[in-house]
Assembly symmetry: C2
Homo-oligomer: 225 residues x 2
DNA sequence: GTCTGTTTGAAACATACGTTTGATGGCGGG
DNA sequence: CCCGCCATCAAACGTATGTTTCAAACAGAC
């Protein structure tokens, strides 16, 4: 049994269980027993549980960011400004094209991303920002060029809205797909979900904030607040 | 010291800690020591940790749903179909009007809601769905009437997107406000953030999936895709 | 074949958790 | 006054966790 076999089996099992139940809720004993390896193997090969989490994460995000950076740089090199939907599609297609990974890696990544952002004292956020600040800044620049009509403050918040919609949905695609199938008898692969996401985000980020008020007044009659 | 004092102090401490670190990551010992009460008090007053989690929820969500139901029923009684933005505003204004809760309470609640969906806190989801299925269904009906052009599957996913954008943003308004202030020197109260959210959601849920929206083409000059 | 460094194995470790127990204190009604 | 009830407390319970230990098994090099 090659050395990498144990490592990969641990990563596979951990990926499954993390996506299914979360990080704190998954024990090393569950992981190692599902992987069919000894309990001590995790600490031997990875050092700690936190390091295992980061390794599971890295296995997905490294190929992903490689794809993403190539596409972003190609887009940046274009003489014309990139369109908003094209920019968002770059991200989603990069996610879907990560080689060798099924959609579970995506769930893991999004879950971690959400945790890193919302958890105030997480060890993950620093890891993320230091590791991928370059791609992050490039994406921000292109997004700014694609939405010149927005004020910086508007853009700031709408980026958060987009990130929230994406992270929240993608981190629980399995559970949501199950609900959808049970209620409507339709089973959708993750590609379809992601494709639904792009127009929602593109339309949301470009919303005109001025036209909200009149429609609002019609029903609430100004008794809001 | 009144008998309810211990209960409230536990609820206050648990609310803060749950929002800060998550459910599994927060121990009863941390809660009781922050609250300045005995460890056994939680099991004495609430029965179990899960019951405490539900109690923390109930303290916010009960007044909220009371407000929400009243407004939704008033809207449903109207002879005209309610507009989408008005419908979304009903939710946001109900959230902001919950009595006795400051904005921090809102952040905490949203974070808890996100965690309930994201972390596999199965007992929480069932609790929420069973407890508030009536308001949920009423909202769904009104939303369906306000978005007749959507297929059920489209509507299902876009509701998830909306929930994600809302929960994610609202759960970390403090941290995000700090970032915004540091980077742009602007401080926004939570009401302003919520007001920014409504047009984003309304525009997103109505996005045309076949093509880029007209507003989008206006900017991109039709070179989408 | 023997040696050497690496990987696995079963078991134990220390710690933290949620929960339960039984004693103690205080308060109001009889 | 004392009884019964309720809330609090320190302590312990049983269990589960991440991690460490150390011997055994293995692989490849010479």
């Amino acid at each position: 049994m090659a050395q990498s076999d144990t490592v990969d089996r641990i990563l596979d099992a951990a990926e499954l269980l993390f996506a299914e139940k979360g990080f704190s809720e998954t024990s090393l004993r569950q992981i190692t027993s599902k992987a069919g390896v000894n309990l001590a193997a995790v600490n031997y090969h990875f050092g700690s549980k936190n390091a295992l989490i980061q390794a599971v994460f890295a296995r997905f995000i490294n190929p992903f960011t490689r794809l993403l950076r190539d596409k972003l740089e190609a887009a940046a090199a274009d003489k014309n400004d990139i369109s908003l939907e094209a920019l968002l599609s770059i991200i989603t297609s990069s996610i879907l094209e990560v080689p060798g990974r099924n959609h579970r890696g995506l769930s893991i990544f999004m879950r971690l991303l959400g945790l890193a952002y919302t958890q105030s004292q997480g060890h993950l956020r620093k890891y993320l920002e230091q590791q991928y600040s370059e791609e992050f800044r490039l994406f921000m620049r292109l997004l700014k060029e694609a939405t010149p009509q927005l004020t910086p403050v508007e853009r700031f918040w709408r980026i958060q809205f987009m990130l929230g919609a994406t992270a929240f949905t993608m981190s629980s695609t399995e559970a949501l797909s199950d609900i959808l199938e049970k209620e409507m008898g339709v089973r959708q692969p993750i590609d379809e979900i992601v494709k639904q996401l792009v127009p929602f985000l593109a339309s949301g980020i470009q919303a005109d904030h001025l036209n909200a008020s009149p429609a609002l007044r019609k029903v609430d009659g100004g008794k809001v607040q």
